[in-house]
Symmetry: C2
Subunit: 585 residues, 2 copies
């Protein structure tokens, strides 16, 4: 059986920056070549970045991507990398015109096979996802042709991401064509425990296709998405033989013993029962040179809490780095949300770039000031205090307000102070410290604590905030470092401290109950009857559902934040603002 | 030829409020019956409202809609309206299960035909739009069966909205089936001059199908969309014989002379060349009773400026009414944007519910105060003044800031004051007064002038703001009323007045040039090379493109506002926040 050395380039690119991404591809191809690889796989849409949104509809952007893949082929050849076969995801378009209103060519999500200075063939994604964060029917036209390239005598089929998740189509066609290797290029965003499903899927599809399967995924944060890497190689029996790290760049290299392609391969007549057209391309049939074998690595998985924490750190860090943001400002109340946010920020961009502001009012407790100061001491972040009482007084001179309006005023004065510091000392942003539970029920002050350029905990429920805080401290102990989070911050009862003696439980059910309801209503999309049948108090269910349905307006104006669940607020779950739906009432 | 009396119910419903919408349907069916109609058409998804967003994915919501259409049939029969044939849009689902991950039934966008207490048949939309504001592939599974119902001996084919815009499919099938009448139920959102395209399309499809075509559309505001009504009947030669008003409810009634359905209608074997299955249902074959003929009306179109103004008034008014908002607060600077916003608000919910706040600073000109006061006097809105200088001073005691940070501070103090007043005197919202040109280039202060629950001018360019202001004053003169907008507000040079002598042109090109570039870049999606070829200064093009590409973050957090163009900011045009695309540089 011929030996094929494959490299999976699990890299972090920059959406829209086609020329920088092309440089990255060349760099990683060089690394693959230095590792002796015959074939290197780069992720889906590596040249443009995956979540390009409506840039995909700009003709000039599509033209730039199309041109860059051709230039890349020449550039690799000129750099002495022409013998390497590279599979590169990019944005392209159809050539024909269509009967749609615009009459224009339609964008396609493609993967080009580059070899010896030319684009040998280019595969257009067949199965387009259009759920959750995916809108591919908005952008792309599906393809219907599977390309099989013969590399070192092995037949390699190339498909893209969702093609693997759906039954039928290209994976079935690859099976019909009897490929020895199925190469899957991906931009698969992180969700909690998705690596478990992903590993099982890769193994199952490898068995179904009767072929070794190589799955390469992007890594890095982009707006609300974070790609977790986790590239995988499974043999045809479904045994995972190599696996890359989570949330870190890596070149995963493996030697594969694969069957030789037949003289006349199946599907050479161009059609298969799957309905896909099958095209064959012979790139190289010579055996690989003698070389020292490489022991493939299978990277250990992170713990459940560890992987969420890593996602939050990478999501925030890349948001800052890719947007040219050098510093972050945030209000430190001594509470668990702002404290965990600060710890994440210190891990993401370094404590020296994190500025904590304490803005005590007449209602602030002693511990709110001392716990914040202790956090600063433990982590080394910058810490300063601007009391708000004189400013509150100045507003009250001109305004006749009380109750909630006066409570919100305090939160908004703090927001104005954070923004003023951030604007004065930019390039920087304010971090909003709200968690998913608060966001769900609208328990926040718009233009107050909701102020910010990024909200790291936007998709983290309150009860999970506590778990992550405890995990981060334990992790510090494991590493022999000072735990960043003061014990009192974890143990004390939550309060907004906007009036004397205020507690979160004045307005909300206990967080264990609230989060249990939210988990079923938001993540599980269960209806009122299901929730009541599960034993929740019907009045409480009504109250929580009403709060969630009415908070859509606030959620729309909340800053972006790292998505860690299937139903993050934002495009994953979008309600009408004007919403007359009152289930069961 | 049999005579058929048809009624088109151009009504304003409430998204999500299924039971209130069912009541509305009964009420409009009664009105149709009282007008002697044989057939009444109600809009697409009239029972649920059209833009239900992810409510379409809630099983309990789909179940409620499905149940409500069955109940509606019985209820109409019980109310003595069973002889009337009603076509009612609603949300339903497939019965079979699918191979998708969830395995659940998939929602469908359907129109039921109700007669004598039963749901005779139900058509599932075939062509699903998935561009601009439409995401129907996210929600719906397309149908493939055209239903033809015989009413008073006439064969009537039923299709839904996008089916009319796309070639092939159901309209072609209706032609094959030789229907006498093509009934099209719609939820077609307003865009500038869309009524022109719509009228032409209806006439063209009537000719193509060789049938009379009746097109009913929704009316009313829903979040950022406004539906403009404009229901139309065209005869088979493409002559428009009846047309409803724009932006107002109406029951459009017409007597139609239509060919009788054949004994064995074409397509009775169940299939046509279009690939659609054709099903026939006979409801009534008796001739209509003798009745006095009705003269159909063709409502005059509004002027270009008049229709945009009407859209903005209805969009804001319905946002307030449907969300239970009684009052609006807004900052009045004496400038054209806040003044036009105030005029729209007075027209939308009455001057007595509009509260203008003047918040002069040390840099405010005399005319900024006097022009605002004059606006209040002309319109009768509430007007009060809260100077911000003492509050600015209080912030500066605690903060060491200058430059842009100090300018933004003033805008944010105003935002805090407006929100405090609104929170104190709710249910109310603040109106953000920014226009599309400012929003495009990010010329606004986040948490300052961008504060608000709704932004009426969000999709109106600055140069169009001036045109609308002049039009509104001329309209007042035509009606013999006081023009609301002070002359000096229209004629003076724009300034944010955040530092001494500041003018908008310090930061931006003149608005005529800026709007011309934005029109090509944003609405026309032209690239840098196109813009330069058109004669714009290349450096200016680069500067404007960079400003637009970098302002996505601010735009995402801007309040919702009435959409009037194809490329409104929001879901119609969505860029990555982290965006490395620098075209041509």
């Amino acid at each position: 059986m011929p030996q094929l050395r494959i490299a999976l380039a699990q890299l972090n690119n920059h959406v829209g920056d086609i020329s920088a991404n092309a440089d990255l591809v060349v760099e990683w191809c060089r690394r693959a070549d230095e590792a002796g690889a015959d074939l290197v796989l780069l992720p889906e849409m590596v040249l443009t970045g995956y979540p390009v949104e409506d840039l995909a509809l700009r003709q000039s952007f599509v033209a730039a991507s199309r041109l860059s893949v051709e230039r890349l082929a020449s550039r690799l050849e000129a750099a002495g990398l022409g013998d390497l076969t590279a599979v590169v995801g990019y944005l392209d378009r159809t050539d024909e015109t269509h009967s749609l209103k615009s009459g224009a060519a339609k964008p396609q999500n493609k993967a080009a096979v580059l070899h010896k200075g030319t684009v040998v063939c280019s595969y257009a994604k067949h199965h387009l996802p259009n759920y959750g964060v995916f809108d591919e029917y908005r952008y792309f036209r599906p393809g219907n042709e599977l390309h099989v390239v013969r590399v070192r005598g092995v037949d390699v089929g190339v498909v893209i991401c969702e093609d693997l998740w759906q039954d039928g189509g290209p994976v079935a066609a690859a099976g019909e064509a009897g490929v020895g290797l199925l190469a899957v290029v991906n931009a698969s965003p992180y969700e909690r425990n998705k690596d478990d499903f992903r590993g099982e899927l890769v193994a199952r599809r490898a068995r179904e296709a009767g072929a070794t399967l190589a799955y390469v995924n992007l890594v890095g944060g982009q707006d609300e998405l974070v790609f977790d890497g986790d590239s995988i190689i499974s043999d045809s029996r479904g045994t995972i033989i190599a696996r890359g790290p989570q949330f870190a760049e890596d070149l995963l290299v493996a030697d594969l013993e694969l069957p030789a392609g037949l003289e006349v391969p199946p599907g050479s007549d161009g059609t298969g029962p799957s309905g896909m057209i099958i095209s064959h391309h012979v790139l190289s049939t010579t055996a690989a040179p003698e070389r020292a074998p490489i022991e493939p690595k299978v990277t250990e998985r992170l713990s459940d809490l560890g992987e969420v924490y890593a996602a939050l750190v990478l999501g925030l860090g890349d948001y800052c780095r890719k947007n040219g943001i050098q510093r972050v400002y945030l209000g430190l109340s001594g509470g668990i949300d702002s404290t965990l946010t600060a710890a994440i920020a210190c891990d993401a961009i370094g404590a020296d770039n994190v500025y904590g502001l304490s803005n005590p009012s007449a209602y602030s407790s002693e511990h709110s000031k001392s716990d914040a100061a202790e956090l600063a001491e433990r982590t080394g972040l910058h810490f300063s205090t601007v009391p708000i009482a004189p400013i509150v007084d100045a507003f009250h001179q001109g305004l006749d307000i009380d109750g909630i309006a006066a409570e919100n005023l305090q939160a908004r004065i703090r927001g104005v102070i954070w923004m003023a510091e951030s604007n004065q000392h930019g390039p920087s942003i304010v971090l909003a410290c709200g968690n998913k539970s608060e966001l769900a029920v609208g328990y926040s002050t718009i233009y107050g604590d909701a102020v910010g350029g990024y909200a790291p905990l936007k998709d983290v429920s309150k009860t999970y905030v506590w778990k992550l805080a405890a995990w981060r401290n334990e992790e510090a102990v494991r590493r022999g470092e000072t735990p960043p989070i003061p014990e009192n911050t974890i143990s004390k009862e939550p309060s907004a401290e906007l009036r004397p003696g205020q507690k979160d439980t004045d307005s909300l059910p206990p967080y264990e109950i609230l989060d249990a309801i939210l988990d079923d209503y938001v993540e599980g999309d269960k209806g009122r009857a299901d929730l009541v049948a599960q034993g929740f108090d019907p009045d409480l269910v009504d109250r929580v559902m009403r709060m969630v349905d009415r908070a859509e307006y606030k959620r729309r104006q909340y800053p972006p934040g790292t998505k860690i669940s299937f139903k993050a607020f934002g495009r994953d779950r979008r309600l009408p603002i004007t919403n007359g739906w009152r289930e069961g009432r």
